[in-house]
């Protein structure tokens, strides 16, 4: 049994990375009703781009940016034909895309190490003389910095006229089109942005783990992210992050079970069953997820809450 604190910190780091994936899927599915079942593909692209560039000693800021741009660009390219499909066909196409991209990486050895993947990826921040635990804390700081940035971006979008257009498209595409919105352009743009965020998550993942291989990017990754969004509450960014914590925490704790309870059954199977149970319970009793979508007008958003607080602080400082 590993050091429990390290195990917990590792879970926190993972939850942060998956929180970004969850936010990106929330943007696509929760706000725009784009059933992107190919999430893992863009995560993988980001991870591989980062792996290659990090091994060439590029700084993190550069390869993280390139990884998001490449993932975003591929997202845009795939969205152009895929978005012309109906919702359910889009889902199927995207699952297939994820598998195809994984197979390409796996079989084209010259591209990125084939089945062996790439290893020896240096971490983004290297500080000499840190203990393993301290290095983990540095990683967490980096990951959560990126998570907060993504959260802010998603919140700004949700609380803007742009977000209002996305919601309109989600609820009724015909209405959006009849009222002057170029539905296709908005969808493509959202898809590209969601993919770029996934690419960034992939870059963080690659430098955190230190190695990438095709086996890390199975469709189960996509399904985990879906679970996070469904459990947390679609169209609620806080919910998306909360969902990431929930699912990751649940995965980890159910994995721990096997060390404490002698079970007659494979813990992995148990984990799958428990996860299914969790999803069914939440969807049954709380179909809107843990955190509901809020119906607030734009002018009652974050800013309105912060302004009086700011004023109070100002008067308090003056007196």
């Amino acid at each position: 049994m590993p050091d429990p604190l390290m195990y917990a910190l590792d879970a926190v780091a993972y939850a942060g990375i998956f929180g970004m994936l969850s936010l990106s899927l929330n943007l696509e599915y929760g706000y725009t009703n784009l059933a992107n079942f190919g999430k893992v593909a863009f995560f993988m692209v980001g991870a591989y781009v980062a792996a290659v560039m990090a091994r060439m000693k590029y700084p993190f800021a550069v390869y993280a940016l390139v990884a998001s741009l490449v993932a975003g660009f591929i997202g845009l390219l795939t969205s152009l034909p895929a978005l012309r499909l109906r919702e359910d066909f889009l889902a199927i196409t995207m699952i297939a895309l994820g598998e195809v991209m994984k197979l390409i990486v796996k079989n084209e050895e010259w591209l990125a190490g084939g089945v062996w993947g790439l290893s020896g990826i240096p971490p983004a921040v290297v500080v000499q003389g840190l203990s393993f635990r301290e290095r983990l804390l540095v990683q967490i700081a980096l990951i959560y910095g990126c998570l907060v940035a993504c959260y802010v971006v998603c919140e700004l979008i949700a609380k803007s006229p742009y977000g209002r257009v996305l919601k309109t498209i989600r609820e009724d595409e015909l209405l959006a089109a009849a009222y002057g919105k170029n539905v296709f352009r908005y969808k493509a743009c959202t898809f590209a942005l969601g993919s770029a965020v996934s690419g960034l998550a992939g870059a963080l993942f690659a430098q955190y783990i230190g190695t990438v291989s095709p086996y890390m990017f199975e469709p189960t990754v996509t399904f985990s992210v879906w679970m996070m969004v469904i459990l947390g509450g679609p169209a609620n960014n806080t919910g998306a992050v909360l969902g990431a914590f929930l699912v990751e925490g649940f995965h980890r704790s159910s994995r721990l079970l096997k060390d404490y309870i002698g079970l007659p059954l494979d813990p992995i199977n148990l984990q799958v069953m428990l996860t299914a149970l969790l999803v069914i319970t939440v969807v049954f009793y709380r179909p809107q997820g843990m955190l509901k979508e809020r119906i607030t007008p734009l002018d009652r958003g974050l800013l309105k809450k912060l302004k009086p607080m700011y004023r109070r602080v100002k008067t308090w400082v003056r007196s």
Partner: protein, 253 residues
Amino acid sequence: MGSILNTDNLVKRFGGLTAVDKVTLNVEEESIVGLIGPNGSGKTTLFNVLTGVYRPDAGKIFFRRERIDGLQPHQVYIKGLVRTFQTPKIIQKMTVLDNVMLAVRNPGESLLAALFRRRRWMGFENRLRERALEILRFLGLDKHAYTPASELSGGQMKLLEIARALISEPKMMLLDEPTAGVNPVLAYTIFDRVEELRKRFGITFFIIEHRIELLMKYVDKVYVMHQGKLIAEGGPNDVMNNPDVVKVYLGSV
């Protein structure tokens, strides 16, 4: 005054069914024109073709002397031709106010502006909100501005549809059964508002309506549609005395 909307032998087929059959019509600027006909005669389909939801199989559409057939719905909207829907398309997970405001093209609807230039569109948004509130007041919905749209009654949803169509200051509005499911008093109010809008802002109206007596009190001209074809046109009295029209309506009862 010239014509604002006219079509030339417009055809729309669904498989073997010709839902709109060689429709040629002409709507004068600043007029109120009615469109009546039995259920399934193709009225809504005609609106869908006019607004770019369906591409016509044949024929031409001119709006303010410009060809608009083949344009996408959002492009037709930008030209100033706006429509409402027979079953109100209300976004339940938004407030009534946002349901209205979403109709206006807003500088904050670009991704970059949403992220980086919030000050720029917030001013616009504030002015837009005032205008939306004014329109809601005009239609008697201002008390509900901040409630979720799902809490509105059927009649109020119809009013909300009109509010949304109004806010972009269109040249012409296509109303698909604006009084369906609305109580008689409110139905008259709606038509009074239509007339007022025509007078004050010069908006042209083309209205599908099943309440014929009500419609006839307000329109300058009526078209009658039957099995995809226009079978009569003219002033309210001419049309109501037209034997073809009488036959269609008696036949369908």
